[in-house]
Symmetry: C2
Subunit: 358 residues, 2 copies
Amino acid sequence: MSTRPPTVAVLGATGAVGRELILLLEQRDFPLDRLKLLASPRSAGCRLVFRGEGLTVEAVSGEALAGVDLVLASAGGSISRRWAPVMGAHGALLIDNSSAFRLDPQVPLVVPEVNLATASRHQGVVANPNCTTILLLLALAPLRRLAPLRRVVVSTYQSASGAGAQAMAELETTSRDVLQGRQPRNHVLPHPLAFNLFLHNSPLDRNGYCEEELKMLRESRKILAQPDLRLSATCVRVPVLRAHAEAVNIEFDAPVSVDAARQVLAEAPGVTIIDDWANNRFPMPSDVTGKDPVAVGRIRQDSSHSNGLELWLCGDQIRKGAALNAVQIAEAMVRHGWLKPPSPSPRHPDQDAPVLQP
Amino acid sequence: MSTRPPTVAVLGATGAVGRELILLLEQRDFPLDRLKLLASPRSAGCRLVFRGEGLTVEAVSGEALAGVDLVLASAGGSISRRWAPVMGAHGALLIDNSSAFRLDPQVPLVVPEVNLATASRHQGVVANPNCTTILLLLALAPLRRLAPLRRVVVSTYQSASGAGAQAMAELETTSRDVLQGRQPRNHVLPHPLAFNLFLHNSPLDRNGYCEEELKMLRESRKILAQPDLRLSATCVRVPVLRAHAEAVNIEFDAPVSVDAARQVLAEAPGVTIIDDWANNRFPMPSDVTGKDPVAVGRIRQDSSHSNGLELWLCGDQIRKGAALNAVQIAEAMVRHGWLKPPSPSPRHPDQDAPVLQP
């Protein structure tokens, strides 16, 4: 790899996560030679500002990807699957925010604070985990140093942003409807979310878990490299704009003290503690909106299990739950010189396509 | 007891639960001779309609309580504690919605579908459980017939109504603030609730559980008559107006099949099933607002425990979570002739006051 800074493309540049990616590349002074903004043909022609300069969004194509070293993609699984082989042929590293490649054994699934080293062994794709998984693992991974994790029961409080920018706008319009005595009308979300909430509407498996809940289980197992981790999640969409919360019940193999847990979490990268028992002050979505760290609090001994801890966490879904985690991966790839795969890449569009299918 | 229908008083008549009590007494055609509306001196003089007739709210006093056979109270613990001895002296039965007497061993704590028989042994006070407890037990109690309960982990999604009518109004005003780009201002709730959520702000015990969470544990143990029940709750206030939801993880002493659980719940009084896996349709606050039954769904085998079930429920907090449960108790007391204590009451204001302290 040359020492020239990489040419970077954001794919899905006009979405909620795409816009945050651009903002973070600017705010964090990401070392890049040139930024290209890519999206579906429908969004091509939009102008977005980066470092004070107006950039035109281009429709994604083989031509538009030529010369790109690094793609940060947040355009959905089918777009990622379609264009990954082309990126591979061009020698570009894909850091993908969709679920398309997360469980592919050849693709590292990375939370930099937890398992960055696995990213060095990529074959052209590094996957960004689901938002709820990232937030959960920032707390679970450090706690695991105190005792092995046996079982986790988690309930989520997920904001509209997880369903995209249009869902956020719909939460606002349906809230106006309700406040003005009108029937709320939903087009993006499966039900009106204003002053309401509902179980995550991703497809159910035959056991009644939805895909969002299964992502948390499977991705946590892969990232923690603990295939026997037991985890049961209930994922719920709540009328909050862009920060998720999670109520987490953790069973360890041995008792873990609240003080030890609090100390480990206080020292954990990416975590901030809001655990003020005297003032009854704990993390809220409004504390973390637009912020980087995941806030953890109400860390307490589980009254129903001697080896159990309960805790509560909040994190910005668009930031650490998606865009920030991807940019942190990208920064590490550049810093460590890992943009190109460790060995001569065997990648070739036709060869790779089957491997990349989940 | 004479066969004359009782004179009934609603204490706290102008609150969210008080108004619902009046509505339910009317809608359910409660057999009463006369209805008196009582409240703090601040609310005295308000006019409320019952059965098409305007009634004036009186300030609560010994005089106002004279001749009353049955008081439905929802005016807070200190008011209930203050006036319970006076009601006792007048021979009136108090059905109390506050937490003042719930854990008093002499006071039955009643969910009619679960433990109505205990109400017959009252000594002048019957307590109405906390909203989250009532909703949970409508599902837990029938399931217990399939296998003994070992441990319950529950996360709540509690509406503004649980904090009273003013909190509901504040959720609306702060939502307007946010939608109009203004800083939301809270006076009733501890934080702005609009597009936000926070852990229930009741006082914490030394283990870090808040009172709301401990109520669920202690009240469930008492109502189920299972003092060794293990239960850990995380109680969360969400920006919903008047229906609560709960994500419930239940560990039994033996495996329980999803089909058996669904059948038992489908036949359980006070429960309705919304569990449509094909259409991904499960209970939402908007399904149960203003409705009587608790809706249960997403009943599934816990993927993390062979003896575990996960389920999700929603119920109207003001209705079954408070006013309806109290009116159902009252109806049963009248129907069974239990208004007066089973033996000559030993009640006397001075004697009783210490016993009634929690």
